[in-house]
């Protein structure tokens, strides 16, 4: 079973600081990590490869620095990594990102399953996985929470939806987007880290993936960000201290009064 895992390098959100004046993110000194929700996909890919054989390859579109994410994925246990990097890719929205990734996947050619994260913690759209499937004309099973088994060319999967779990049979090749429940990501091993350090990571540009220049990057993106601002937190918290019986009683009373006033109880 040959698997491709698209992963994104994102800023560590814990560390996100905003420039109050411009409303933009301060990127200096911010640590970059693998999109945490992609770790579950990486782990599932490793488990499937261990059970059914084949190769598991990470691909990432981003600046040259994104190769760190690929090396980390290899340290966890993926076999290879491919970086898509080209100035022409800059400013891509989800449409253009998925286009470039799907072109790269076409170039890799030999694949059975593509596993994406549920969403990236920076862009936070969850659109790239289904969009890759659309470009490649593949079925997409989204919000996968459990892999049950694989037999006669069909995967049996659980899909988390609003009121429960769908049980799906999905034929290969296909695209999956996975949620946290699907796996427990392992930590990189020492041997994995050594392998990652030595790994030879091909870097593909727009020409390498035979991308139509009008469809990549900002030019290929149907959407435009026209304004960015910081949401105002306008709540005034009324704080009540509860450190003994009397004050606890009073604090609770205050809460019930508020809930009654707002017709919440």
């Amino acid at each position: 079973m040959n698997i491709i895992v698209p992963i994104k390098q994102v800023p560590e959100t814990n560390a996100v600081r905003m420039d109050e004046a411009t409303g933009t993110m301060i990127r200096d000194g911010v640590v970059s990590i693998i999109n945490p929700l992609d770790l579950y996909g990486i782990e599932l890919a490793i488990e499937l490869r261990e059970r059914f054989g084949g190769r598991a390859t990470a691909i990432s579109m981003g600046p040259p620095k994104a190769e760190e994410a690929l090396r980390e994925a290899i340290a966890m246990g993926l076999d290879d990594g491919i970086l898509l990097s080209d100035r022409a890719f800059a400013g891509a929205d989800t449409w253009a990102t998925a286009y470039a990734l799907s072109q790269a996947i076409r170039k890799i050619g030999d694949y059975d399953v593509i596993i994406c994260g549920e969403r990236a913690t920076d862009g936070d759209t969850g659109q790239v996985g289904p969009a890759i499937a659309a470009f490649l004309d593949l079925p997409v099973a989204s919000y996968i929470s459990k892999f049950e088994d694989f037999s006669e060319g069909q995967m049996r999967l659980h899909r988390l939806v609003e009121d429960g779990y769908e049980i799906l049979q999905v034929g290969l090749p296909c695209v999956l987007t996975v949620v946290k429940e699907v796996s427990n990501p392992r930590l990189p091993t020492l041997r994995g880290k050594q392998k990652a350090r030595k790994a030879d990571l091909p870097v593909w540009n727009a020409a390498d993936i035979e991308a139509d220049p009008t469809l990549v990057g900002l030019k290929g993106s149907p959407t435009r960000v026209v304004k960015i601002h910081r949401p105002k937190v306008s709540r005034q918290c009324e704080k009540a201290l509860a450190n003994d019986e009397a004050s606890t009683d009073q604090a609770v009373r205050g809460l019930l009064d508020l809930l009654e006033k707002r017709e919440l109880i």
Partner: protein, 343 residues
């Protein structure tokens, strides 16, 4: 571009019944249609859909219902649903399509946007029309709710967006409001799929958190699964759903579908009670749009207080029992009062 006209909302159904998200989308759609002075259509793919529910879509603001029915469209599968939608879009040329940011909407819309070469914006909280151009302005939180970005699609049509469930009220019902129901035939060759749904495990607990009017959420402050049970007790008293921080889920005090936040669910209830939750930015991303937020935490500087309307600074082990007791008294007083009134 000007051939594209009219606003569509993507209604959803399950087993022939129209789902509530459809009525919320009608609120959004009606506003846009009125601003653009164009008709509003509710598009619905399904099977054997209740006639009363279709009429209700019109009573709640749709000028038109475009219905595609087929046994194979009963359960959502991305490829057939996309192909049917694509045919409809190519026939009617709507300028805007809005769907719920549900498991269906979030999967169908990006698939469809690629096929239509259209722009799509996820999880919009505000939708508006740009004066002059008539473009759709789509505002959404990004980077864990740290910023709001306004996005537009200047050229490509249709302009597509998903909106979070519960971020608007359902459209009001106006009895006697009239409109047209158009039944579109579905060609068999659109219906093949690599996916089949072979079973379903109902888990109501996963549903009610996104749909609930009130959510009581617990975090690591509870320290043990035993103590965490107080969250359920309070939720019972408040008729609320139970939510949790990631740390509580990681400790297996509760399952993942209850997780609120960046890597869990986004909820917009009328009341959110956060207990023993610090208010990490990833948690806030999932709940800060709640109408009223209450926090109980023994650290007066906990971040959660910055998004709260009312905060109790104290030990949850002391505060919770008192709160539960007061609520119980109140309920029992209410019950005996109505008994007296009845008797």
């Amino acid at each position: 571009m000007s051939d594209y006209s009219g606003i569509w909302i993507l209604a959803e159904q399950s087993a022939g019944r129209v789902l509530g998200i459809s009525h919320e989308l009608l609120t959004r759609g009606r506003e846009l249609a009125d601003k653009r002075k164009v008709p509003l259509s509710a598009v619905l793919l399904g099977n054997n859909v209740s006639e009363a529910d279709l009429a209700e879509l019109i009573e709640r603001g749709a000028d038109q219902v475009i219905l595609a029915e087929h046994a194979e469209l009963d359960a959502f599968r991305p490829e057939p649903h996309t192909r049917v939608m694509q045919r409809l879009v190519e026939k009617y040329h709507p300028e805007i399509i809005i769907a719920g940011a549900t498991s269906t909407g979030r999967t169908l819309m990006p698939y469809l946007a690629v096929k239509l070469h259209a722009g799509l914006t996820a999880d919009c909280t505000v939708l508006d029309i740009e004066p002059g151009t008539g473009n759709l302005l789509q505002t959404r939180p990004a980077i864990g709710g740290n910023i709001l970005a306004t996005i537009k699609t200047p050229e490509a049509r249709p302009q597509m967006a998903t909106v979070r469930p519960k971020s608007t009220r359902p459209a009001m019902r106006q009895a006697g409001r009239t409109g047209e129901i158009i039944r579109e035939p579905v060609a068999d060759d659109l219906l093949s799929s690599g996916i089949s749904r072979v079973g379903f495990v109902k888990d109501e607990s996963t549903a009610n958190i996104s749909d609930a009017k009130a959510v009581v959420a617990g975090g690591r402050g509870f320290k043990t699964s035993e103590k965490f049970k107080m969250v359920y007790a309070l939720a019972d008293e408040l008729q609320a759903a139970v939510g949790a921080s990631r740390d509580a889920v990681d400790r297996a005090w509760i399952t993942y579908p209850h997780q609120v936040g960046l890597s869990g669910k986004t909820v917009t209830p009328g009341l959110y009670v956060a207990i023993g939750i610090s208010g990490a930015i990833q948690h806030l991303a999932g709940m800060q749009t709640a109408e009223t937020v209450v926090a109980i935490n023994n650290d007066p500087d906990a971040m959660i207080f910055s998004v709260a309307d009312y905060g109790i600074v104290g030990d949850l082990s002391e505060v919770m029992p008192v709160l539960l007791e007061r609520l119980r008294e109140r309920r029992e007083a209410g019950a005996s009062q109505s008994e007296e009134a009845g008797g």
